[in-house]
């Protein structure tokens, strides 16, 4: 990706439209020309110093090139060219941009401290706790993947483990010889990883696609309020929003149907409203914010309900599990409607003010 080919270099020079003499000096074709390439390389020092004032990276590169050309002992520029063409590993040796093959590149996604992770987890559970510019100033500045990754892994195993405990308790009374079901881990992993990765990607694409055309005059006023998040921050927010299901999945072991459904509704609505509140700046920017809000909330509720129905209502009596969605169906949209209206009341003023 970063390794320059000969064509790229030439095109790049054309773009800058600088002095034509330097095109000759720096073009790879000239360097391959023979031993005289070094002489001209060192000769370009004066010319490149003049361009260095512009402070662009290109001038630095030219400067580096001329100094290293002076240090060079023998020929072999041809050989070096080949190395740079196929070797992407050392691409980030000189600059601040790191190759995606190095571990340092990924360290920037894990640049968090303990208190920061705890803060984000708490913020994902309690509505109205985060500041209005949370998405932009906190998440957007430093999106991390530590929290989302370990929260999803923890959720997978907490659901699988407490699902097993629930089925054990279900069968404990009768003399049934209970066996644990390891396959729950695979199912939980599949659906949770899909949810935590696919949904942010879809949302990100929708945000991009449905971006409102903004006048330049308006942009000055609303710049602080509206903001389109990056894919990474969306994944970060979504990962943290799953955190509330970890304690809930442990509480689901208690086999009282009303309590379980109460937990589903509470958890989904708590973290759902946080999601909406955090994403409000981006939603304002979108043309069909209403559909997005409904989509986000319903996906969250459906996920929680799916967890409960699949993992906690014992698999042996599967016809029961298949029958249960029917009474639930009316309840969920009603609650959904209430929340969307409440949230819309928040968002709508922003819409009008634009």
């Amino acid at each position: 990706m970063e390794t320059p080919t000969a064509d790229d270099l030439l095109q790049f020079r054309d773009y800058s439209g600088g002095a034509p003499a330097q095109i000759n000096v720096n073009s790879p074709t000239h360097a391959q020309g023979g031993g005289s390439g070094f002489g001209s390389g060192s000769g370009s020092g004066g010319g490149s110093n003049a361009q260095r004032q512009r402070g662009d990276p290109l001038a630095d590169l030219i400067y580096d090139m001329s100094t290293s050309a002076q240090n060079m002992a023998g020929g072999g520029s041809n050989q070096a060219q080949n190395v740079s063409l196929d070797g992407s590993g050392g691409g980030g040796a000189g600059g601040a941009r790191l190759s995606f093959l190095t571990i340092e590149y990924y360290q920037q996604f894990f640049n968090v401290d303990t208190y920061m992770v705890l803060e984000r987890i708490v913020n994902s559970m309690i509505p109205k706790r985060a500041a209005g510019n949370y998405l932009r100033m906190n998440i957007g500045e430093n999106p991390d993947l530590y929290g989302p990754f370990w929260i999803t892994v923890t959720l997978i195993f907490s659901i699988a483990i407490s699902g097993n405990i629930a089925s054990y308790l279900h069968h404990a009374s009768d003399g049934y010889h209970w066996h644990y079901n390891f396959h729950l881990v695979s199912y939980a992993a599949t659906c949770i990883f899909l949810y935590a990765n696919i949904l942010p990607a879809v949302l990100w694409a929708l945000f991009k696609y449905s971006l409102k055309p903004v006048d330049t005059a308006d942009a000055v006023e609303t710049d602080s309020a509206s903001y389109t998040p990056t894919l990474l921050s969306l994944m970060c927010i979504y990962g943290y929003s799953l955190a509330i299901y970890i304690p809930v999945s442990i509480l689901w072991v208690i086999n009282i149907s009303v309590l379980q459904w109460l937990l589903v509704i509470t958890a989904a609505l708590l973290s759902g409203t946080v999601l909406i509140a955090v994403l409000t700046p981006a939603l304002r920017n979108s043309q069909f914010s209403l559909f997005l809000i409904i989509g986000i909330l319903s996906a969250h509720v459906v996920l929680a309900a799916g967890f409960l129905l699949y993992f906690f209502h014992s698999p042996p009596d599967s016809p029961v599990a298949a029958a249960t969605p029917a009474p639930v169906a009316p309840a969920a949209p009603a609650a959904l409607k209430a929340v969307t209206e409440a949230v819309l009341a928040n968002v709508a003023p922003g819409n009008r003010s634009q």
Binding site: S68, G76, A80, D113, F157
Partner: protein, 225 residues
Amino acid sequence: MDAKLDMFEDVNTSPSLEGDMSIPGKRTTTTATSPGGVPDYNTLDEPIRETVLRDIRAVGIKFYHVLYPKEKSSLLRDWDLWGPLVLCTFMATILQGSSSADSMSDNGPEFAQVFVIVWIGAAIVTLNSKLLGGNISFFQSVCVLGYCLTPVAISLIVCRVILLAAQTRLLFFLRFVTTTMGFAWATYASFVFLGQSQPPHRKPLAVYPIFLFFFIISWLVLSHN
């Protein structure tokens, strides 16, 4: 872009740099063998039995260090993956669901699933601590995590013995206590070995995945029946 091209030229044309690259590797291997006891031995002349016994003894000493986690240098400095391999294969063999029983009732993990959970889990935990900025090499950490499975494996053996008797509440409680002890021991031992490699404000972030790793494996041990 030009500069990168030049950097390569620079490296490529000066052979002294290539020599530099290989020095760290050599240095670690020489320090690894020298404090291991015998400073210089000729492995060409000695009988095979001695060679094998020496390696087995080295593995055995590491098991001992895990069970009595006081001295860290030997486990961290000359790592090997023999102990983890033995432990992991042993646990996977015992934990796998028996295929002879009817497949509907027994949904235990397959051999490969346990194997993958242990190795991939150790790799992910290690990668996590590397990404958080820990100063420990990859295989050192995998070695420590693998050897720290020893208490969990011991609790698995005890559970297996308990399972031979008829199941009662008391025996289940006994298995629960055994597994919990193995889990706590393993977590504590790996914390002793790996805890120092992280900056203090990130220590909980690095310890939590270790905790989760051993918790999951202990859960497999406890729910095996």
